[in-house]
Symmetry: C2
């Protein structure tokens, strides 16, 4: 939909797609294992707030819902249709959608351009039908969409129901889109929109990005991209987007074998990796290597201020983590900057006489937890430091968890011990959040104690997670994330001037 008027009209349809009053599932099924079953199940399970109309010529009921034999039988207006029919029946369904004024459809069905010549012809037919019918078509060969607010529309191939939040996803892979949702969900990270664009025969990645520029619910945009058809349009949209919010991208197809796999996947022609990389740099796009990386980074953008520079202060509860984090920061292009004498003197007041008097600040194992948090604050107050990596959060309750199964845990000593450590993490959490808010500097956390947080029920770790503050389980991950916050900050400074 190239023309200016077309773009506006398309954006209106995308708006309706994300906020539909009602949804039809064309090809709904009672047969377990069929997509027509799965999509209906997920739409219901996700708590969609509008009307749900399963469509199947057999009629009857599915999961307690009336099944309509066709679209025309539906008693109310329909805004969005999911199409789960065999490839040869898709053209007819789209045409019917158009005739009933349905403005958007999501074609899950595969078997189009990704299969080569014959599939391409069929795909051209459905595009022509969608244009004629004035229907915004997502797909084909896609995994569905999510739109959390206000619709509570969770209609994807995978059983994924992340909470409502502020990360928007556009993906040229259905299983990567699903993976992201799964990983967000498991870590309590909120999602605003998710679109698996499939073969993007009509609605393109760029159209969704365009919508997200002004979608206030979406504060960080992440994308999985195999290929870009129209580089100029992509760069134009990306530039306008990154001026308002970060865009974090995984590029699939950086190797010959990857490119070849991408071709058979969505029919995408993965362009030169160097060209894509240059585009990213010019448009302020943050490029990451994989999904773990992407989530680490996206979440930090939601909860952390953008640092003014690359000078990082490291506060550690033990030497090894301090050493590895200094190495990782250096490798990521951050400056583990010397601390001025004034800051060293203030730390002297809090730390034992033999502390190492440098950055990284090594707390020396065994210091009270209060000193750790205080040291983070003192370093955050230093105007020659732009950001902090604090290592070692979460020890208090880990101790509790460790002795929970001790044989004689009810003796006085155990009970006192638990009482002494239980609340230290929660107090520390609030202190750290206050430092971030007061000093407007990022404070990234890393500790092995995050692992198994669900098991341990560490209230502080889980609460931080709900506030989009992850505790990274390695020294490299926060260093990489911080370097990306710095890079985006510099891009924004440059483009603002």
């Amino acid at each position: 939909m190239g023309k200016e008027g077309g773009v506006v009209a398309l954006q209106t349809k995308i708006e309706t797609m994300f906020n539909p009053r009602s949804v039809a599932i064309i090809g709904a099924s009672r047969t377990i294992g069929k997509w027509g079953f799965t999509f209906t199940l997920h739409l219901i399970r996700g708590g969609y707030r509008g009307a749900i109309y399963p469509i199947n010529p057999a009629g009857g009921e599915i999961m307690g819902r009336t099944v309509y034999r066709n679209l025309r039988e539906i008693p109310g207006p329909v805004d969005l249709a999911f199409i789960l029919l065999p490839p040869e029946k898709v053209v007819g369904a789209i045409t019917e959608c158009g005739s009933l004024g349905i403005s958007a459809c999501v074609v899950i069905t595969a078997g189009f351009a990704e299969l080569g010549k014959q599939g391409k012809a069929l795909e051209a037919d459905i595009v022509a039908a969608a244009r004629k019918a004035n229907v915004a078509m997502i797909g084909p060969n896609c995994a569905g969409i999510i739109s959390s607010e206000p619709a509570s529309l969770y209609c994807m191939m995978q059983p994924v129901f992340p909470p409502s939040g502020h990360i928007a996803v556009v993906s040229q892979s259905g299983n990567i889109a699903g993976s992201m949702q799964f990983l967000f969900w498991k870590q309590d990270i909120g999602v605003s929109r998710c679109v698996s664009v499939g073969n993007q025969a009509l609605v393109k990645t760029e159209d969704i990005l365009e919508y997200l520029i002004d979608d206030d619910l979406s504060r960080v945009v992440v994308a999985y991209i195999e290929g870009v058809d129209d580089g100029d349009r992509f760069m134009d949209v990306a530039r306008r987007l990154t001026r308002k919010k970060p865009l974090i991208v995984i590029k699939g197809g950086t190797s010959d074998r990857g490119v070849s796999a991408a071709r058979s996947h969505t029919g995408a022609i993965a362009g030169s990796d160097a060209v894509f990389d240059a585009m990213c740099r010019q448009c302020g796009i943050i490029r990451v290597a994989d999904v773990e990386d992407l989530i680490d980074t996206a979440v930090a953008f939601l909860s952390q201020p953008i640092p003014r520079g690359n000078r990082v202060g490291i506060v550690a509860n033990g030497g090894g983590w301090a050493v590895l984090t200094a190495d990782a920061c250096t490798e990521a292009g951050l400056d583990v900057a010397p601390l001025p004498e004034e800051t060293l003197l203030r730390l002297d007041e809090r730390l034992p006489a033999w502390w190492n008097r440098q950055n990284p600040v090594d707390m020396v194992a065994g210091m009270s937890r209060g000193a750790f948090f205080k040291a983070v604050e003192i370093v955050a107050q230093c105007d020659q430091i732009d950001a902090i990596i604090a290592l070692g959060f979460g020890y208090g309750q880990a101790n509790v968890a460790a002795i929970a199964s001790a044989p004689d845990r009810d003796t006085l000593e155990y009970v006192s011990y638990i009482e002494a450590t239980r609340h230290s993490d929660l107090r520390g959490m609030q202190f750290l959040l206050d430092i971030i808010a007061t000093h407007k500097k990022p404070v990234l956390l890393a500790s092995e104690y995050i692992v198994g947080a669900d098991q341990d029920r560490n209230e502080a770790v889980l609460e931080l997670r709900r506030r989009n503050v992850l505790i990274y389980p390695s020294s490299r991950r926060p260093a990489q994330v911080l370097a990306r916050l710095v890079r985006y900050g510099r891009y924004r400074q440059k483009t603002a001037s």
Copy 2:
């Protein structure tokens, strides 16, 4: 302990240290927060099978155990002592250990060479005392040790109680040693020995590595190293070790700031990174970047055969993961090799007509789970493929977890759905384990469904974990791990001939 006789004597003492009949805690305490409390607590909590003798001049009881006023009051023989006294009292304690025939001690106390000149003098004194008393001394400034079988000796600063198993740890950082134990424990990964060597004033990293060469319980050795004092000895020991089992190393101090932090940490002079890297290559040491990386790799060595070459077959349940894994394999130096026509024909029989007919094998979402496992087997049978990365294990029960909270989950459809998916993962697990055993090729698994496995109680995922088969949550991690298996295999082939 440089001389030949001394080395033998020292090894005998280290053997006793890992299998002591009794342990004294010199400086045990009832005061919560003191190390004398924590170490006693952990030793008891870890279920140590020998006698425990807390020592404190105040006498009385700690956690129901009699406290002895001094070592001489102890009624039986003592094999190992932990020393938790202030620095100036350590010399006396070591001398007393010697006079009572205690062959090994672990000095937790800090405040020695890591503090500079004065600390160095004090450290020289305790070394002299230990030599004179004929006591093998670990530390000072260390976090303790673990020896799982037969002693069940868990005596570290951190509350870490991993199951008994086959990974041995030597660490020049106490908090990295503790982090590793915590991460092993949380993932059900078994540990044989763990030594935090601290300032290694007497017993060196190399002495522990020497012991581990012939320690049959230890099948994989991992180490965190900041500096190597005697490069020739280190290389000699490493060469002899890697001829029998893999040695995986994190090197701390690769940057100026990291080196500086290391100096104040354990007093280690971190050598040139390039020199260390060359040493690793010459000795078949597998070098990794951080703790996550190290665990990924160590566990694979326990459960996977060493591949004969670098030709990897990728089997994926969807395009995006296939693309990213092909990229990651290529970057890691693996060969995503073409499949011969014979293998393609065999896959044709199992996959839909439109499958992509290449490596990576993209299953195309929606295929039955059985076809996925069968495709892994067919690729494993191909003699032009040395190893497999299989993407997408664990979907069955993830579906169950997703609908567990559905409002009308008791309706017939839900119940049938759960029944249909519940057992597919367990069947698949057994099938994959059989493929590894039959074809003697590694099959590495990656899927986002591992995340939150504890929550989901995916029996298959948990059972695989207990068998040291991790499911990596990204495409890069299995590619990196596989590349290391390949590299070690080549080293072993080269040194065998």
